[in-house]
């Protein structure tokens, strides 16, 4: 099923607004990915100091994507945005292997948040145009994804610059909306 038919399917669903929280370290490419999804110009993107909201509207279905700055001193404000999150999108710079463990550490903290319990997680392994592609299973163990057992998670390789994989990630998100894992 294509993206459009998927969106159409959701037209009849009572929940028409979806809140997607987009997090990740600084320079991962969060803002670039969202601009790409919104078909906007990718020039002049600067580090996000606060947050951006991008809404993609289609077939009466509204995806509200919250893009929060990832710089170290801003990360402590992430928790202000956790409420009512339907999907967590976590972006990593696949070319920056030196920071895999740091980003994994931030993600692990997020996953402990009560407000994010059971929320499906999509990892955008971004900058594939640069990356000497790390194996998905290495990304998974590097980021401790294999310890997430109570919900769906998926690694989506992509490049925000050339657009590859970005829509596929959104497809996955749409399939997993409303499938929060079991609360224990």
């Amino acid at each position: 099923m294509g993206l459009l038919s998927m969106l159409r399917k959701f037209k009849s669903a009572p929940q028409k607004e979806v809140r997607m929280l987009v997090l990740g370290l600084d320079n991962a490419g969060k803002t670039t990915i969202l601009k790409k999804l919104a078909d906007e110009d990718l020039k002049n993107i600067t580090p996000t100091q606060g947050f951006n909201i991008k809404s993609v509207q289609s077939s009466g279905f509204k995806l509200n994507m919250w893009d929060i700055g990832g710089q170290r001193q801003i990360r402590k404000y992430w928790h202000h945005y956790f409420d009512d999150t339907d999907v967590l999108i976590y972006v990593i710079d696949s070319a920056d292997q030196k920071r895999f463990e740091e980003t994994g550490d931030e993600l692990a903290e997020l996953l402990e948040e009560a407000k994010l319990q059971g929320v499906p997680v999509l990892i955008f392994a971004n900058k594939q145009d640069l990356a000497t592609a790390a194996k998905a299973s290495d990304i998974a163990t590097g980021l401790n994804l294999h310890t997430i057992r109570d919900r769906a998670w998926q690694i989506q390789p992509c490049s925000a610059l050339n657009g590859e994989g970005v829509k596929d990630g959104l497809d996955w998100v749409l399939k997993h909306i409303g499938k929060k894992g079991k609360k224990k």
Binding site: E101, L145, I155, K182
Partner: protein
Amino acid sequence: MFTLLQTLVRGCRSTPTDLTLGFLGPGSAGKTSIAAVIRGEPLEEVSETIGQDVFHFRRKKANITAYDLGGGERIRGIWERYYAEIHAFVFVVDASQPLSEAREVLWNMLKHDFVGGKPVLIMANKQDVDTASSAQLVSRELAISDLASTHGKSPFQLVEVCAIHSSKAGILKAIDWLITTLLEDFEGATQRRAKEMQQQAEVEAKEMKEKQERIRKRREERERKRAL
């Protein structure tokens, strides 16, 4: 980690009716499609799993948690992290394709200490395709008779299925064999699982500690550089 620990605690407390199954097998064998049949979801264009999906259903008074893991070459490495928690395996193969890869993947899996001896239900999927091998052929291609005598002597069963045409009832009926086999010695299976999960948790905790240490060192180094 927190989540794994939670799972571990839950695992130790499990009552005789909590079972965990793993849907494994090579990439595009049809695991997610078969899971969709069980979940009663429409079989729409499924996409490659590069991670994990988890779903729950009840069967024979058992509460079943099922992991549907990615089977492609680049993600298969995560399987071994799940072996300890899994009571029994559904191994799906694409019977319409050559089975040499499937054989290798299956044998490798069974070699693992946390797998050998646990029941394995093999689903020879895609029987709607003209070129699909029969159960008998698949069994020969996978060299199952050899497996049954090595690697911890896992009990095996092989069934022909088709995610596109098989009914939910049909698929569940095949899974019943797995549940029945498990329940024959559930006490033993539970003890084994608790022990393996404990071992796995220790490995994970050790790794986590080392990781934390590396992160801390790197942070200190960065701050030292900044101070200079």
